[in-house]
């Protein structure tokens, strides 16, 4: 499930003089540039997260949905601590990219990557609050991003795909409660099939 763009910020409010971060106060320039209402913060509750070498799997228990975040999307998500601006997140991205031998993207490109990732994270509710993008980053699409970065760096474009939520039927000796049942004998529960629902009791 890849979304093509970001919603533009529709309103602004007076920014505070500074916002605390782990790396000290943010510059006014950062704040003006991002013109955000809320700093991105990763959602932690009701999620089961599994980190693999190249991707991160997330199962949303509440919504019964599973997602696969590629490395860039995962890097952005992990840095959404509620104190760091997207510009700061972007600044810290290249280190990992350079280590992979990818061309070092300029700050503007890096910020585009971050906003594209934030848009997707918004869409699948992996952030505590919706983050609205400044107008200059609002209409980004993955295609534009690949065009801008070049094919060699296309792998750096954040991608979040949805995967079918985990099911357990393929291992079961018999049909678990709630499973569609054709007859009483296929169900694990000796009470068999619920005739009203056509499901195992």
């Amino acid at each position: 499930m890849v979304r093509s763009g970001l919603r533009a910020a529709t309103r602004t409010r007076a920014q505070p003089d500074y916002l605390p971060t782990r790396h000290g106060a943010l510059s006014q320039e950062d704040l003006m540039k991002t013109s955000i209402l809320t700093l991105p913060k990763m959602r932690k509750h009701d999620l089961i997260v599994d980190e693999l070498p190249d991707e991160v799997l997330v199962y949303d228990v509440k919504r019964d949905r599973a997602h696969c975040l590629n490395r860039t999307a995962a890097l952005v998500w992990e840095r959404c601590d509620g104190h760091t601006t997207p510009a700061e997140i972007a600044r810290r991205l290249p280190l990992e990219f350079d280590a992979d031998g990818l061309p070092q993207a300029e700050q503007r490109r890096r910020e585009e990557l971050v906003w594209l990732a934030l848009g997707q994270l918004n869409d699948i509710d992996l952030l505590e609050q919706t983050v609205t993008a400044p107008a200059e980053f609002a209409r980004l699409s993955r295609r534009q991003m690949i065009r801008g970065l070049g094919l060699a760096a296309a792998v750096a474009v954040p991608v979040i795909t949805s995967i079918v939520a985990p099911t357990a039927v393929q291992a079961a000796t018999c049909l678990a409660p709630g499973a569609p049942c054709p007859g009483a004998t296929a169900c694990c529960n000796p009470q068999g099939c619920n005739p009203g629902l056509n499901q195992c009791k």
């Binding site: 932690k44 509750h45 696969c68 939520a165 985990p166 393929q170 007859g183 000796p190 005739p195 056509n198």
Partner: protein
């Protein structure tokens, strides 16, 4: 494709497939729960980049998350029972998966827990609140003796009462014997993902490898060897066994029939999956496999997906009782009756080269008393309209105690 697929580095030589062939068997792999194993086998080959390879990779991701969910449920259920002073033993499922290089290589179903026969009623009452909770399905067993028997086999009316009397003493003795050899292991596959808090217990009791091997063998055969994962479990257990694995325990104090079953499944794992069972005593060898057995097992694996589709077809036909009665026996019943492995195990037969027809007829005879009940169930399904609680917008969670359980579970998920 599945030969040796469970190893850390599967043998590259065993993958001799074209993309078209992989496309052909893809539905079968997905339906039978062997998709993650297939991906593990193919992950370093060019086939991993094909559309079928990507579908298998997706299945691996699903199994991976499923394993995490399963571990949390396990930790939760063990805590619930231990709070009541009941010590359960986990069999199959995660108890087998922990031996794979990656717990995601095996699909997960229900939680098979065994408790002492004298504690069964109390344990069932304790877990009552989980019954309507999505995902938390515990298949609770009283002792170990009936593992692998389907509810249908357990319920053969003809012998139920007699067996209950005969088994009572054996069940208790068997439980005490196996429990004394059982082991406590940690849910260590992903320590950072584990739940913590009083409502979770991260140590799980499992059978010792020797007893687990015997139990897996009985389950495989009694269930008609329908899933490749069940035979892989046996192969993995054999290959990962410690040097002090005691064959005498695995084969001790069992009837000739059980010894025959165990030797047969070991030989089957070697023959079909290329399991490296290493050195073992003479009594743990079955000689040659019955000629009919390996083709029958492969046939069952192929049939899994077909029967799954047929069963959903039958459900669609429920609006017409006549069609249902005609279709059901002819379809799902045929699939069972035709399974010579299940039939042999159901009547306690031996796996040899003798014809299977007597066993199949024997099982059919045993099932006859259940026919009125099945017909009644079908008639009931005809009388009531289709639909489920979720579709009608009704709450799916049932008893009030489930709310506390859900809250406890969800609060710890972060």
């Amino acid at each position: 494709l599945l030969r040796g697929a469970w190893r850390q580095s599967p043998p590259a030589t065993s993958v001799d497939l074209s993309e078209a062939q992989l496309n052909d068997i893809l539905p079968l792999l997905l339906e039978s729960g062997a998709a993650a194993l297939a991906w593990w086998q193919l992950r370093a080959t060019p086939l991993a980049e094909t559309a079928a390879g990507r579908a298998l990779h997706d299945a691996y991701r699903r199994f991976r998350l499923s394993a995490r969910v399963h571990e949390r449920e396990l930790a939760h259920v063990f805590a619930l029972l231990r709070a009541q002073g009941i010590e359960p033993v986990l069999v199959k499922g995660w108890a087998s998966a922990r031996l794979y290089p990656d717990a995601a290589l095996r699909p997960y179903g229900d939680l098979d827990l065994c408790v002492a026969p004298r504690e069964f009623v109390r344990a069932r009452a304790t877990l009552k609140c989980l019954e309507d909770l999505p995902g938390h399905f515990v298949d609770l067993h009283s002792g170990f003796s009936r593992i692998g028997q389907t509810k249908e086999q357990e319920g053969y009316r003809t012998f139920r009462r007699l067996r209950r009397v005969l088994n009572r003493r054996d069940d208790t003795r068997l439980w005490e014997q196996l429990f004394s050899r059982s082991q406590v292991v940690s849910l260590t596959s992903a320590p950072e993902a584990l739940a913590t808090g009083p409502e979770f217990q991260n140590s799980i009791r499992v059978l010792c490898p020797e007893d687990h091997l015997r139990l897996l063998s009985a389950h495989l055969l009694r269930s008609g060897a329908r899933r490749p994962a069940w035979l892989c479990d046996i192969a993995v257990l054999l290959e990962t066994r410690e040097p002090d694995f005691n064959w005498d325990i695995a084969f001790a104090e069992t009837q000739a029939q059980t010894r025959n079953w165990l030797a047969t499944t070991i030989a089957l794992a070697e023959d079909l999956l290329g399991a490296d069972c290493g050195e073992r005593p003479e009594f743990a060898r079955s000689g040659s496999l019955p000629r009919w057995l390996a083709p029958a097992v492969v046939g069952e694996w192929v049939k899994v997906s077909e029967v799954g589709r047929q069963m959903s077809d039958v459900r669609c036909e429920m609006s017409d009782l006549g069609a249902t009665l005609a279709a059901l026996p002819a379809r799902s019943r045929y699939a069972r009756w035709h399974n010579p492995i299940r039939a042999t195990a159901a009547v306690g037969g031996q796996f040899n080269d003798w014809p299977r027809l007597p066993y199949q007829l024997g099982e059919l005879f045993l099932r006859l008393p259940e026919l009125p009940k099945q017909l009644h169930s079908l008639w009931q399904q005809r009388r009531y309209p289709k639909g489920n609680a979720r579709d009608r917008g009704e709450p799916v969670l049932g008893p009030a105690c489930a709310e506390g359980t859900v809250a406890g579970l969800q609060s710890s998920i972060s």
